[in-house]
Symmetry: D2
Amino acid sequence: MPDAVNGLNEECGLFGVWNNPAAADITYLGLHTLQHRGQEGAGIVGLTGAGMLRHRGLGLLAEVFTKPDQLASLQGRAALGHVRYSTAGGRVLENIQPLLFRFTTTGDVALAHNGNLTNARSLRAQLEREGAIFQSTSDTEVLMHLIRRSDKTNFVDQLKEALNQVHGGFAFMLLTEHGLYAASDPNGFRPLVVGTLPDGGTVVCSETAALNAVGATFVQDVAPGGLVVVDRNGLRIDHYTTKTELAVCSMEYVYFARPDSEIHGVNVHQARVRMGKRLAAEQPVDADIVCGVPNSSLSAAMGYAQASGIPYEMGLVKSQYVARTFIQPTQELRERSVRMKLSAIRPVVAGKRVVLVDDSLVRGTTALQIVKLLRDAGAAAVHLRISSPPLRFPCFYGIDIQSTHELMAANHSVADMRQILHVDSLGFLSVDGLERSVGLTTAAPHHGLCVAYFTGEYPTPLDDYAATLQDELSQLNIKVAEVSA
Amino acid sequence: MPDAVNGLNEECGLFGVWNNPAAADITYLGLHTLQHRGQEGAGIVGLTGAGMLRHRGLGLLAEVFTKPDQLASLQGRAALGHVRYSTAGGRVLENIQPLLFRFTTTGDVALAHNGNLTNARSLRAQLEREGAIFQSTSDTEVLMHLIRRSDKTNFVDQLKEALNQVHGGFAFMLLTEHGLYAASDPNGFRPLVVGTLPDGGTVVCSETAALNAVGATFVQDVAPGGLVVVDRNGLRIDHYTTKTELAVCSMEYVYFARPDSEIHGVNVHQARVRMGKRLAAEQPVDADIVCGVPNSSLSAAMGYAQASGIPYEMGLVKSQYVARTFIQPTQELRERSVRMKLSAIRPVVAGKRVVLVDDSLVRGTTALQIVKLLRDAGAAAVHLRISSPPLRFPCFYGIDIQSTHELMAANHSVADMRQILHVDSLGFLSVDGLERSVGLTTAAPHHGLCVAYFTGEYPTPLDDYAATLQDELSQLNIKVAEVSA
Amino acid sequence: MPDAVNGLNEECGLFGVWNNPAAADITYLGLHTLQHRGQEGAGIVGLTGAGMLRHRGLGLLAEVFTKPDQLASLQGRAALGHVRYSTAGGRVLENIQPLLFRFTTTGDVALAHNGNLTNARSLRAQLEREGAIFQSTSDTEVLMHLIRRSDKTNFVDQLKEALNQVHGGFAFMLLTEHGLYAASDPNGFRPLVVGTLPDGGTVVCSETAALNAVGATFVQDVAPGGLVVVDRNGLRIDHYTTKTELAVCSMEYVYFARPDSEIHGVNVHQARVRMGKRLAAEQPVDADIVCGVPNSSLSAAMGYAQASGIPYEMGLVKSQYVARTFIQPTQELRERSVRMKLSAIRPVVAGKRVVLVDDSLVRGTTALQIVKLLRDAGAAAVHLRISSPPLRFPCFYGIDIQSTHELMAANHSVADMRQILHVDSLGFLSVDGLERSVGLTTAAPHHGLCVAYFTGEYPTPLDDYAATLQDELSQLNIKVAEVSA
Amino acid sequence: MPDAVNGLNEECGLFGVWNNPAAADITYLGLHTLQHRGQEGAGIVGLTGAGMLRHRGLGLLAEVFTKPDQLASLQGRAALGHVRYSTAGGRVLENIQPLLFRFTTTGDVALAHNGNLTNARSLRAQLEREGAIFQSTSDTEVLMHLIRRSDKTNFVDQLKEALNQVHGGFAFMLLTEHGLYAASDPNGFRPLVVGTLPDGGTVVCSETAALNAVGATFVQDVAPGGLVVVDRNGLRIDHYTTKTELAVCSMEYVYFARPDSEIHGVNVHQARVRMGKRLAAEQPVDADIVCGVPNSSLSAAMGYAQASGIPYEMGLVKSQYVARTFIQPTQELRERSVRMKLSAIRPVVAGKRVVLVDDSLVRGTTALQIVKLLRDAGAAAVHLRISSPPLRFPCFYGIDIQSTHELMAANHSVADMRQILHVDSLGFLSVDGLERSVGLTTAAPHHGLCVAYFTGEYPTPLDDYAATLQDELSQLNIKVAEVSA
């Protein structure tokens, strides 16, 4: 799961409960388990006796909920929670979800979103021209307008009509007085699962690990194009479109999701072990020990060690405490502040040829510092192995890779990168190796994965982003024909 | 390193810098690396152009230092920092160290302490009778009174005289306008090391990991009875007594210290791997996988796996986020809140006979819950292996085991404990096995370790604590003859 | 000005600046001067180089703005600020103004409101049916929808069309990238004035005292039905309707507005002195001293003293510090907590027959306690004189008198009230006396004042409130024919 | 009472309760009433079932106590509270009182102090040489050392011995498990009074207004050299010295104390009215209206008006809200920020010759700005009248006038001051006039007042301050012979 060591950031986690008297408490526990999906904001809406109430704020869940009554006041029979990652520009309270809409005629609606819409900008412009008003800069508000402008006569039909108008990657959850609603985009980019609580009630959330954390029993993954409705009639699995094709975000398996989660039946830790094994086969090296970058790369490192026969060792230690620093970033102190997060166990690595396994390579800056840590601790050689393919293209479905400019592999060859990172060798897992390591059983392209960040093959039209991407790629001399948009 | 999962708590970490213009920044970085030694309070005193200034508070370092100028205002050529664990009763700001004493005639003194004095109570009563006033309930204030009441004519001699009057386990550090001073008790219970900074200046601190974190080069461990003086004449290694006998706290190797630290030349991670290996030899079992309780027991689990040939697996995952909960602790929710910290990877453990390696067993409550986690995830059998001997006696030298009543092994046989914990088998490392795993090269008893919590053989008289302990042990029918006091 | 001693609360203060580089600073100063108009929330929107930014929060201005960069980040060439009083139910952050709307196609709009709309509920229901979404429970959001749904082609025309659809009491201010806009309802219930800054720029705000505080020169009151536009073409005084009739809220003169403000040319302090003088003529009494309830009733008390020849004395003192109390409200301590706000000067009142002048009588609870304060200090008699008529009807234009049930004078005769309040005599100013004391020169009914709370003659239809009021009054046996709605 | 408009600051307020179950609540109420005596720190020690507990912090009482349990946890049968003003250098938490001393042998002691000791520095140096340790820079800690070093065998005798060793101005209060103790210096510089609660228990505090606020009945002023003991034997009025001579700080009557307090039988408001009357006789002027600077000078202004026959008017209004400003102090904005505190009522002063009555003149900066306010509002003339003599000498007994350099009247003649302040005339009350206005009935010099700040006649030796004062005065060409030290 993400460590803030890596430069990648997920864009959100969702957790909703229907029909349980401890709904807000359970949502708090569930969001805690999903904290890795977003650390910049958190919020919970509770369906209470006094109507829908919300508490939200900037920061970690534990920074937003600091007094008992902030949670207690939300207690009721249903709740919807959200943890959020956001880009710098949008780091304002207004954008923290769930959004909460007040309708005196039809009852309040809470709305939360994980993902990114590719046609939000054009939809919004159209809505503004038609008189719609907006109070945030986030994509999410668009969906509420589409729902309310639908001519359909009941909420589920309105919601279905709205869902058919938005494109891109999304898991949406909505809470009303009448029910909890959850929908996945037609490609199922973002994970979304359903479970039931032992003492009654239904949970819908981003990862199975959160079901486990609250003692819920897994029911099923929300299918691409699926719409889950939980109301007084119980749980109903519906869909809003049949034009679907599975393309789960492969970075969920590589890096984002928790190792104890299962996505479409595949355990994330075990998928990572297989990535490490396959990486050992594709990118072998003669060395003394294998070390993973803690904690997200330990699974892959164990796999590499098992397949290669090179001993798995604990060469790096990660601090469990938040490393906040006010220190002026002189070159020397910058290095020191990296050491607030990671340190090497000197006698483990001293004199050893080390295979360093990391799960991904984004900007390369952190890898450079980890390599230096190992060399300072006496490593005789450092062979860097990445358990995913080179990241060369931006993501438009909910991961914060917004530009090719920041991607090391979009701007450099593997040979160049090896030199820049001062490693003795550098190897990546192949796209095919990644797909087979996950091993989803589906007839969909790329074994049901989205691998656009590696290949430029986007599973959907890019709408509002198409033109900008073309420009960017032509500057980089990347063959734009590769791109599907 | 401690995880707050276990029930044991260290009582402090120390970090001081002399003669470096970034003294306060470096101390902040160093304390961050020592945060595992105390999470309930933190403070830094800086020797600034405006005199000695202090910032301290309750909570983690990152909760105490929340604004840039809190640290910036302490910048000067020297600093002394402290992180503190404290028992509930003493959790007040007044006890947060460093203590800071204001002398208009001779200049200010900052004082910080890691450990516990066995004769503090009687010394304090004597001092009070002689007119001394106290503004805290901590032992530490006693030392300052002894220093000021000494008849000696210079500070070092006064300090030496004072150090010879206090008994027990201690690492003391003092900062004046003229120098930085560090002393270890005659048994060297608590680790204390000296290093030099690349750009000038000297560091004294609790663990070598903190030296590494700030880029300092290790010089030496402070010897039992040793007194380190750093002043305008540079670094001087002195001593205040020659009646010494090495008895390093064995729990530092078992649990407290960071895996990347070295104490008296022995790397902590590697000592733990050897404990795991020896545990496998002493307490073998037929099983499918070995799992450690993350993070502190992973080293021992790797050792057990290597020696037993049973595969090492990642069966448990630990959350990296602080789990603060306001939730009413009903039985059901209490279990859920444990799952905020730890979770099992179901497909790893399902159907498997698991060797669960933990580093120590205190109250047994957490172990019970972890065993349940594994069984809920489908483990076919759980064999609990503890990489240290049964904890049966309190510690009076700085670890928070204050009463035998809370120690499971002081109140139950191994057979009983196996039943209570619902494990298929239970085995502990022997005292001899522990001593040999650490492997200090010394002629001192117990290979230079304090193993009093396991055997009742206390390396020093217990002074103020002797009578109470005798009472307690006689109630438990533990043979009091065992106890050395 | 209001003291939180009285039970009445104003519903807001407005302050906007256009075309001055210190716009946010000036707005902060201006809002401070208007703090008496609302103490439960404050917010400022700044038109900055980075677009429209907002800081808002619950509480006093000084509690909302606690760090320099919260204000500094709003600095730009224009700003709009708001202080808010809100009823308990709506005391949530979402309702704190200015509201800020984000339009990617036409630019952002900030909106602030002082007053209450009588047809907000029905307009909102209609808008919701037409697909509009709401994110607050305040009336104010309605106006933005009406503006955006207008078919007009420029902002001013859209705004005018919207203003013609809302009824009741309002002063609206809007800020866009292109200008600052301010409008007053057709009766001019709430004060709103325009001024110019010495170093350039225009200010529009609720009271002239705020103009003085920022060094601005008064230009004019915004007329009923008036629309002020300030943009790159300078200041333009326009109107959106000509169907107007002046009916300034008389309680602004009696209680709400600052004594150093002037509304439609009448200084508030001097109007209060005249009310006191007329009260002395209408309700004379034989007594030794005249005391006012500090601070809002001191002007009227001085007038009473001057006209009656009875000496004006300082019999009561008001604490200048916020009296926040956590103490359990037992009867005894409740009395004590009143004494945190007010106290009597014993030797001034002891043995004296006191004329106690207060500006209004709402629930009577505070008056009862003040009378007791005076008697405990030895007053020989207490003659209560109220410098306004009995409050018997609710206000629907922006003052927090929402129900007749809480109004003492709506439920009791003057004779009854005298007994309940334990005063030796009780007298009120007549409606005619009030109107003549203010002395506006206009042909409008009631000399241009709204006196509905005294007489039930509402200057406008009551729309959404009409039915409820009829019910309430019939229960009270108040002749409903009095009511104009 | 002080308004933070003036440049003078009191150094503390004391409030203690013995034998009442709501001791902490009552202390909180009492301190609120004494808030004007110190706004930079507050603290309460409660004698609870769990021993003596303390909550203290920087800022106003309402900023220090922000959560209900902060006060609730202090509840017990006795409490001691303190509000503090402190000079910039000492504005650290360590100096916030009550100080709390922990004695394991004899029980805890809380100590609070209002005043300033003239021999603290030399006593402290002596104590340090004898081995005493200090943890604050405040004078107060000295007393605790003296008590504990006494050879006497009971606490009261030890306290008496200690009190005889300290010189200067002081009101000390101490709380132990056995009693509440209060002592006044031999001149009675600072007020200190005793009262009884209706439901049992005794209160000792700085001013009678605080007795009234908690419903306590006044018993008596603590006499110079007096020692009040409240314990299980009830209230005992004792003394520690008979060498006494009343010299109440005259500034208590002029400015510091609340108008509703009585000091040695003289009501403060009425004393101020008499000062105003006498000022009118000593410094008459032909004018149209009399205005006081709110709130502290209103009493004197009323007196001036009564004696002169010139009408008393409300020409200035003071904001009741805290004026915190982050704004960069350019000249223009500095003026504006003064207007956050005070404003003129234009039609009251326009065209009028105004007698502006202020209670004291320290640096002259605020007076200059108020004069400008009046002139900007159209005043035809401003005649400044000060209801106390010119401040020319520092105070060493507890008022923050530490240097003659900052005193306008120590550096300028009255004629010069008139010009600097741009007033049409300037007049001060004479020392004799002040003494007669207060009118204490005593044979002590200066009618029982300390008038040292006006005349340089200090009632006690100046000890540690004597030499510095001589230097300063000789620089100013003030005749040092005047000074009594």
